[in-house]
Structure formats: structure tokens, C-alpha cells
Amino acid sequence: MNYIEKLLTNVSIDSLKLTLLRTAYVKKGSFLAQFDPRIVILWYSIFAILPWFVHNTTVLLLFFFTMVIIASLSRISGFILVMLSFTTFCNLISIIVLTFFLGGDIEAFLAILTLTLKLVTVALASVAVFASLDPEKFSDALLSFGLPGQVSFGVSYGYRMIPILIEEYHQIINSYRLRGRIPKKKGFLRWRQLFYMGKIAVLAFYPMILNTAKRTRTTVEALEVKGFTYALNHPEAKKLKLSYLKVRTKDIVLLASTCLFLSISFYIGSIYPL
């Protein structure tokens, strides 16, 4: 009962806004942030793809511990780590229970453990990279890889608009709550109140959709006046936008040491296979 009470009162949109602003504007001086974003993405894709095709447990363990070190260098928030380990643990348990139920044995457990090792390694790499990369830099890197400019625009737009949109949504919700009345009967597990809140959360999107449509038209017309689509289709404008991205010596050092690490770990894996 207490849980639902909390859910109804404490789900605060302000904390959401704060989190967003924190991701958007806090300067990050972590290990991976100092490199060129394109190189970091390249580095990341190595560690996001390779573990899937490695079936040597020694190599996987080496990958895992390296990722733990890099993730701890990247100063990820403890909350994300706790969530990560919790969900991993839950997944592991539920798959194992179901497997034993369907007639599996210890073999299945080991296979799932290896799979979980891979998943965690990839997840740690993602968290390390995307917690330390500035989203705007990340989107510019994607742009230079040839992704459509709309994506990179989406990131910048999100920065500027989302706090405003959330505030507007919050106001609409509040006005609905002021005009309406929360059901007196609580019902089993307070389902009436939960249903009421859910209904408001959905219905509030009706004015929200109309307002956002108006706002969008203004935004897009302003963009078009400044030649947004023209710039998207012309390589010179893109070049100018991305001119600050440069591959320096330390980026090459990062890639070279990664290659060295990969070859060493595969060598160790072939000597001492688990």
C-alpha cells in the first residue's frame, strides 16, 4: 500500500527535469571523454560486437575485467550500476528457473552464465561510453559517419525543448487535477486512483499534441528560414559544422592499445582456455 501511495504522490516531474538538465549541461571530464567521439564510437563497436562471437571464457573474462576498470574510470553513477546488476541478476535467475523446469541441467546454467558475461561486458562498455560522451558530440560523430542530419538535429532540439515540453505537460496535468476529482473509493490496491492518474496522463496528451504542433510549425519555419534543409543537403555546410572533430595522437594510441590488448587476450585465451 505504501508503495502505491509513494507512486501517486512522489512521482515528480521536477526530478525528471533535473536529470535531463544534468545529462545535458554537466561538464564531464572522464577518461573516454578526452578522445575524439568518432574514435570512441569505433572503440565501442569493437567491444559491442566482438564478445558475441567469442566462445572462449578466458578471453571473455579478460574483456569483462577491462570493461570494469574502464567503467570505473568513467565515473558512472552508482544508480545505473545497481540497476544494471539487479536486472542482470533477475534475468539470470528467471531463465535458470525456467530452464530447470523444462528439464535442463548444470550445462544450461554454465551456458547462461557465459551469455550473461557477454551481456554484462557489452552493457558496461555502453554505459562507459555513453555516460562520458557529450550527446552533442556523439551526434556530430554520427553525422560525420553519414547518418542523416535529422538525428543530430534531434539531439540538439531535445536539449533545448524537452525541459519546456515537460513543464507544459506538468501544467496540463496539474490543471486536469485541479478541475477533476480523485475517486473517493480506493478500490482494490487503489486501482481506481491509479486508473484515474493513468487516464489523466493519457488525456493530457490531447492539448499537448495540439500545442506541440503549433510550436513545431514555428520551429521548422524558423529553421527553414535559416536554410536547415539546404545545409543538410550540402556537404560544405556539414564540413563546416564538423570541422572541430580532429583525430589526434592520443586517439591513435587508444586504438593501438586496444588492438594490442585484443591480441594479447586472444593469445592468453588460446594458452589457458577455461
Binding site: L7, V11, I13, L16, L20, R22, T23, Y44, S45, I49, W52, I80, C90, N91, S94, I95, V97, L98, L102, G104, D105, E107, I112, T114, L115, K118, V122, A123, A125, S126, V129, F130, A131, P135, F138, Q150, V151, G154, V155, Y157, G158, I162, L165, I166, G198, A201, V202, F205, Y206, M208, I209, L210, T212, A213, K214, T216, R217, V220, E221, E224
Partner: protein, 285 residues
Amino acid sequence: MQSNIGPTNQQGQSQKLMVFVLSMALFGLGDLVTELVPDIGIGSIEFGVPYFGFIGLILVMLFNPLYAALGAAVGEVVFGDLLMGDFGGLGEIEGVLTLFIGLYIAGLLVKNLNSKFSIAIAGMVGIAVEQVLGGLADCIKVWVGVEDLEAIQGLPESIVILELVECSMEWVIAGVIVGIIPSIILIPKLHGKIEPLLGVKPRQGAYSQVAAGYLLVVSIAVFVGATLFGVIGEAIEIGAWEPDFIDQFGGWFVWVGMAIAAVVLIITLLLRPKSKQDFEHPKAG
């Protein structure tokens, strides 16, 4: 018709950009709101709202489906994950693709915005495609990640069962409860009201039925192909215990694929006679 002064037929470049931005912002906002609501998890099966399906469905049905679906998928990643500091990297690509395909199919499939039935069918099929493709991707991940998956008894079945339960849960919640039910209520309210705000004409009739059918066929082909591939893979390396496995798992899986194909066939047959009417008697905007 293409002039920038009067309402255009949803074809102008800036109109497309508007639809994209609108869909991105709204779907992203909806995604953020659903993040606020904590999921109640039992093992790897979560009872929670994965996303507000109705926002994507409404926009995809009212506007140009391609740009609305693209915007929703981008908004999901950028707003919901990247800006919240919860970005999964390569794993997000699959989410973007499945969401885009599902919503796009829903937008193309809908025939008549005045008919609740048409909206409901298109929405349910779209979200179902998204969920099936997503579940398939998860299964493939396990298949790639575990060496000799078939050699371990009980594991493939349990993965498939878990995925099936999770996908159907998400389909019921995102596709029906916060999917088509709000859509059915909100689309008639918004139809004809929101389009002038973007300077476009309200949508009449279907976009392009051929493309929808084509996309559906492709996604079903992917699904059935993957299933058959798995079953044939089983059949080739028949071991001592394998035939039993095909009986239990493969055969059942093929039946699921065939059931989905049958449902889609029935839906297309049901919807076909209506479309001509739409084209012959378009309602005045």
C-alpha cells in the same frame, strides 16, 4: 498544390520536417513520462508501460507515416535514452528499426480514419509486428551468444517462452491499453483539427495499400524465414534426441507463424472492399 502558401498535400519538404519534429518531440515526451512510472518486475518479465503506443499511432495515422514513424523512433532513442543517460549503444539500433517498421506499417495499413475498426486493426497489427520483430531479435542474440544452443536441453524453449510472455504482455499494454484505446478516442478529435496547425490537408483514405502489404509481407517473410532457418538447422543435424525437439518446438513455432499469416490474410480480405469506397467518395476536408 505544392505552393507554400495554401495547405499542401503533406508533400512539402518543410511539412515533412514538421511531422518529423512533432513526432520526435511528442513520442520522446511520452517515453519520458513512461520512464517515471516504475515497472514491477517478476524475473525478466516486467509489468509496466513500455511506451505510450497511442502517440506514435495517432501521428502515424494522421500524417505522412514515413516521417512520423521515423520521428517516433528517433525520439524514443534521443529523448528517452540518450538524454536520460541511459543509452544502450548498438542494442538501441534494433529498437529503432522495429519501432519504425511497426509504426510505419500501422500508418500505411489504416484506411479510413472515421472507422474505429480500421484504426484498431492497423494499430494492433503495427504494434504486433514491432513486438514480434523485437522478440525475434532477442532470440537471435541468444542464439549467436550461446555456443551450441541446441545441445543444451531446455534452454531454447525457456528463452522462447520468456520472450513470448514478455512480447504479449508488452503488446497488450503498449498496443491495446495505452495503444489503440486512446487512439480510437483521440484520433476523431484530432482529425481535421491538427492538420491546419502544420499547414497540411487532412489525410483522406489510405496512403498506399500496396506498400503496406509489401512491408507486411517482408516482415512476415523475415519471421517465417528465420523460423524455417532454425527448424531446418535442427533437421540437418539430427541427433539422437533431436526429432523430439522438432516436434515440440519447431512444429509449434511454425504454427505460430502460420497463424499470424492467416490473421493478416483475413484482415486484408476484410479491409479490401472498403478501400475502393474511400477512393471513390473522398470526404471533403
